[in-house]
Subunit: 306 residues, 2 copies
Amino acid sequence: MKPKKLVECVPNVSEGRDPQKIEQLAQAVKGVPDVRLLDVDPDPDHHRTVLTIVGSPEGVEEAALKLVEKAVELIDLRQHKGEHPRMGAVDVIPFVPIQNVTMDECVELSKRVGRAIWERYEIPVYLYERSATRPEREDLATIRKGEFEGFFAKIQEPEWAPDFGERRVHPTAGVVAVGARPPLIAFNVNLGTGDLSIAKKIAQAVRGSSGGLRYVKALGFKLEDRGLVQVSMNMTNYEKTPLYRALALIEREAERYGVPVVGSEIVGLVPREALYQTAEFFLKLEDFRRDQVLEDRIERAFEEEA
Amino acid sequence: MKPKKLVECVPNVSEGRDPQKIEQLAQAVKGVPDVRLLDVDPDPDHHRTVLTIVGSPEGVEEAALKLVEKAVELIDLRQHKGEHPRMGAVDVIPFVPIQNVTMDECVELSKRVGRAIWERYEIPVYLYERSATRPEREDLATIRKGEFEGFFAKIQEPEWAPDFGERRVHPTAGVVAVGARPPLIAFNVNLGTGDLSIAKKIAQAVRGSSGGLRYVKALGFKLEDRGLVQVSMNMTNYEKTPLYRALALIEREAERYGVPVVGSEIVGLVPREALYQTAEFFLKLEDFRRDQVLEDRIERAFEEEA
């Protein structure tokens, strides 16, 4: 039965090539009560695997620690080369509130897990995103700079003491970032042109880091097989920066070049609420309450009186 | 626990004024296993109450029959006057497929219920909408014409033999229409003008009966307190005539009068899918699969492996 409180955990593990090891990592998570493994997505080029775990807060906590235990056993970062920057055998462990759980509860959860990772496995832990203990640790890229090899020096710098643990990089498993964040949506918008420079200019206009929308990360890509270009986005807080607003801005910028938006895609999963808010905006709904959604109302009715 | 198969039943009962009787009618439904009463909506002017019941096919079947039993006991149509046309103590019983149930299963369910209503209570039954046995019985208004008082003559006409039962109107409970139909969405669009004639003209343009969209019923109304007018719609099949298409047509027609659409509302419940398809359309999503919706995926994961 589905637990009442639901947390998602999306750990990134630095092994994307050996199917047997990936299977062992998945198995470490699978047996945990009140937990389901929704997805295992290995990337051989980047030599990393993204697992999507969901379950009760307690279940997800245990699953995350089991995964770290297995990763320490199987992965030796001294032998690891891939395209993606990495600093740990388990590189990053984000916790995401899904249902009947607050962000604060996920921050607390990330701290319990972080403390246990140091105590059990002697891997130094950096808290990031909403769990960060100082602003410069919110951004994962800033923490990860220097990667595994560089961390033996970095960890000795005054401002880079770990949040849990001593200034000792684990010899094979490195360090790990643990934190809480909102759900992330991968949202790509396709433009009716083959001119990559236009996608790049629009990506720059729309992303928060260069002055665009606060919770958008964006890059321009070419879709060779379709002769199109794409603005590829990570929406890091769809409640504050909704999908429809990013789309509207892209459409307006594209218009300036006489280019139409010809389609879009969501890669991976999207929370219901992101679709509800989109429908609400475009239909111009007034006073739309979420308990007007038939299936949600039905679920609540059967929960309440059960 | 929520049953795997879910059917909604939205019976209309000809009692909207006596709170005690309405409570007794609601109680008749409440005890049934695997059933929840989502809503009871009495309308004193129309002297009718709409109940929204949801549950397993078997549960909803039993609940519908219990409701008819109680209505026969409490309601005497000879004493009944209200603004809304009516022909039975229970006037109409539609069954709506919600989850893991086909329309065909709801048609079969409506026929079982219809047969039982005649056999147990001697109320003649007309099958309507998807359960209709001939085209002219699809439309409830056509069946209901003449109302309770007129039915004593109408039932003797060659083409108005009941689908279940003899040509004998129940002396106090009349006749009843039973059928299966898709979920209905009440969707109203507000126009930035006080000119009722514009809302009426647009309603005529958009409704199926006068040449507009096949599954739209529409009327024009005045919102006195806001100084606006409204196109008030019943969307009778949102899969074939989606909300966004009705809105687009209204916007286009309103433009011709220089009038903007200033808002809209959904009255009552709306299926998730109607919101998903709206988001999909406006975001121009390509290949969007419903198993990409995070919460739906989670639910399935916990169902499958439980």
